[in-house]
């Protein structure tokens, strides 16, 4: 059976599934329940400086976006960092770590941007026996208004500066958590690397308003008639997160920088995708908040089964898809596919037809008896029919062999060629 033990920047855990710093990891009782359920690691909810802790709203903290059957697709939150006294958190961290020495316990931190504040808290965290720290440069709401969280994460120079302080004043492994609320995620990642970070984790939550109450005319969650933007997470943000993880993984400047992937991971499959794009561990929050801690058991069994079926080690999975993430200009423009509809699997809903006829290339015919078939002479292989078909594998894309006639162009499929050499490209390089 596949070995899921993880060693991420020296932090060991029995599996790569960590709970992200978030509401589920705010208290000893929660973290103990998580470890009992089988989570490999926990990033403790962000600690602030000593003194009176932050306060949270006393109205609703979460907004939600549903899919069919009220499946949670996304949650946004306006909860701040821990609102419990620092000493209580530190005492609980020490207690949990003592009882679960084999699990990863990382402490998320967010203190004002001065060296003394960081120096002070690092010492206190080290005394708990925790395995490492994660610098919260991502939180987009509330704390950012006070010059912390994403206010730091949006300025690469600050990231580098604070990271340098942390590495200078602590022996602990340091993960820098990045905000997606920027234009180019490679810049903050490079800054973290320059500052000496051992790893980056991403993404933190995305600035969002999940919905508007159409009676109160206020964003949700609504606090006494007003709403504020929150941080969006859950399955809906996974595509954004995967792209950002891939951008860092394939960036020559940050190549090899360990990544802890975060963003809508709900099943083993999501986790495996993040790992294939270079994540050494993954962090989960929304799925646990939706279904409880038990979901990790499916993640463990699913990843094991996948690795066993593929007959590869977990370390072989990590980063395996990175070489296949490329720029559009290098895609093979001669690669040609055609949609094929399996008539036995087709349930005749006609959604492929509506999608293609109304919004694409009029490449599906609707025949007597609701028989839907592909007009290869029109099909540009856009894939939309397959995407909207409710039956998995009913529509597939058939690859045309080189030399085969493409019914749409009437010409044989040619070997690999991309935009850089295409005659329509004014910048095309002359073929040698």
């Amino acid at each position: 059976m596949a070995d899921l033990r993880s060693n991420f920047i020296g932090i060991k855990s029995p599996n790569p599934f960590w709970l992200a710093s978030a509401p589920p990891t705010d208290k000893e009782v929660n973290v103990r329940r998580a470890f009992q359920a089988g989570w490999g690691g926990v990033v403790w909810k962000t600690l602030g400086s000593e003194g009176p802790p932050v306060v949270n709203v006393n109205g609703p903290r979460y907004g939600v976006v549903y899919g069919a059957d009220r499946r949670v697709l996304g949650i946004n939150n306006i909860e701040l960092i821990t609102d419990r006294p620092l000493e209580v958190n530190l005492r609980e961290i020490k207690s949990v770590k003592r009882d679960y020495p084999d699990r990863a316990l990382i402490i998320s931190l967010m203190v004002p941007c001065d060296e003394d504040s960081w120096k002070a808290i690092l010492k206190q965290v080290e005394d708990t026996g925790a395995d490492g720290v994660e610098l919260n440069f991502g939180c987009p709401h509330g704390m950012a208004e006070r010059g912390m969280g994403s206010a730091v994460g949006q300025v690469p120079e600050y990231i580098e500066m604070v990271t340098r302080w942390v590495k200078q004043h602590s022996r602990m492994p340091c993960i820098v958590k990045l905000t997606p609320n920027i234009t180019d995620v490679r810049k903050p990642a490079e800054a973290a690397m320059r500052g000496g970070a051992d790893a980056v984790s991403l993404i933190n939550t995305v600035n969002s308003i999940t919905s508007v109450d159409l009676d109160l005319f206020s964003p949700q969650p609504t606090i006494d008639g007003k709403g504020s933007h929150g941080g969006y997470c859950g399955p809906a943000v996974k595509p954004i997160a995967l792209n950002m993880v891939a951008e860092i993984a394939r960036n020559p400047a940050t190549y090899g920088l360990p990544i802890s992937g975060i963003g809508g991971i709900t099943t083993w499959r999501d986790a495996a995708e993040f790992m294939a794009l270079g994540s050494g561990t993954v962090q989960v929050c929304t799925a646990a908040m939706t279904y409880g801690f038990k979901i990790v058991q499916e993640m463990i069994s699913g990843l094991r089964e996948y690795l066993d079926d593929k007959d590869i080690a977990m370390t072989d999975l990590i980063g395996r898809a990175v070489p296949n993430v490329t720029d559009w200009q290098y895609l093979n423009l001669n690669y040609t596919t055609k949609a094929v509809i399996d008539q036995d699997a087709c349930i005749k809903c006609g959604r492929c037809y509506a999608a293609c006829e109304d919004t694409s290339h009029q490449a599906i015919a609707m025949g007597p008896g609701r028989v839907f078939s592909v007009k290869e002479e029109e099909c540009v292989a856009c894939n939309l029919c397959l995407d909207v078909c409710p039956v998995e594998n009913c529509i597939t894309m058939r690859e045309l062999a080189v030399g085969e006639i493409d019914a749409r162009t009437g010409r044989p499929v040619r070997p690999y060629a991309n935009w850089t050499t295409h005659p329509n490209n004014p910048m095309a390089q002359a073929a040698e």
Partner: protein, 448 residues
Amino acid sequence: MTNSQLTPGVVPGRLPADSYAANFSDVAPPLDRHEAQVAADRCYFCHDAPCVTACPTSIDIPLFIRQISTGTPDAAARTIFHQNILGGICARVCPTENLCEGSCVRMEAEGKPVEIGALQRYATDHLMAQGDHPFRRGPPTGKRIAVVGAGPAGLSAAHRLAAKGHEVTLFDARPKPGGLNEYGIASYKAVDGFAAREVDWLLGIGGIRLASGKALGRDITLEGLSADFDAVFLGLGLQGVSALGTEGEDRTHVTHAVDFIRELRQSGDLSALPVGRDVVVIGGGMTAVDAAVQAKLLGAQNVTIVYRRGQNRMSASQHEQDHATHSGVRIICNAAPLKVHGNGTVREVEFMLTREGPNGLEDTGERFRLPADQLLRAIGQKLDGVPSDLAMSGGKIAIHGPGRTSIPGIWAGGDCAAGGDDLTVTAVAEGRDAAEDIHAQLMEAAHG
């Protein structure tokens, strides 16, 4: 209580007094909001959806389900009522497994259709509960139209004509409007006086004058109506009942299932309604099932439906048949009545076993008898009392196009008209389409 299920003969009060309300409660309780959301989520919003094609009134089902799923059930109801003003009763009585639900692509996918009927009821109940009528009449046309028969076809025609701005007089032979909805379906399908409430709500459009207790041929004549009105629509239904033609059929407690159902529907006290201990129902349609199940629910000990052909030929839907057998009714197929035995009162019915032969049903020569103290005939209704100058076809009023009869100015639809399938929903469609045709002709004449 003096009578029980074991008491011989046709007697009332076989059950404890509190059993009746439970037995005759809603056979398919309405979906609540959550159930409706879950059910609506299953709709794929098909292109040119097969369910719409399968609906005789062509309700835009994917659209109304989408409207439910987005929290606008009243908009959903308007989508339904626009095509089928009797969408409420149709949601309750349509054999959906043969129509919309039977053609749902989810049947192909996993054998479980979207619950279209239940969703339609959810939406229509929601809007009807608001009390307001959802449609407004068009400007008055000054045209007067007679609609004869206040059943599904007549109500549908009357509503559409009133909506167009015509003045409608709606005649019905019976004291109450509603036709089969009021008198002819099992009470557990339309509880709490739904049929009557629906008619009241439908009449809320205005412009329809109800003239109850007026029978064609007795109180009104076709010639008179043609003279007094600009157009006439006949939605007479089928008032005649067929006899078995079996020896001994005249014995006491041998009656028509439609009469049994009508009395039950109009009864104010079900415990006072007499029912046999051993009830035999002859027939294979919805009426046979409605009568048999209700006899069982009234406390009959043994209820048997006997149908002369194979089960696959029964016109009662599979759902109805299942409902009957789940209710404790036994169904015997391939058996035809030969003789009703008894001394004045029915005591036994003798049957021959049949099989399908090249020239129709054949007698296999085998015989059996069923004890019976009540025999209900449910072998079909027929058209009675139609004015002789209307052309007929197969015992019904011949029509061409959208309900046009052989006499200009007279239209017909529903069960009394040739063609169709004797379904409520088909009657609604025919009434609606005839109304559109009447409107088009009258307006063309007015402007021409």
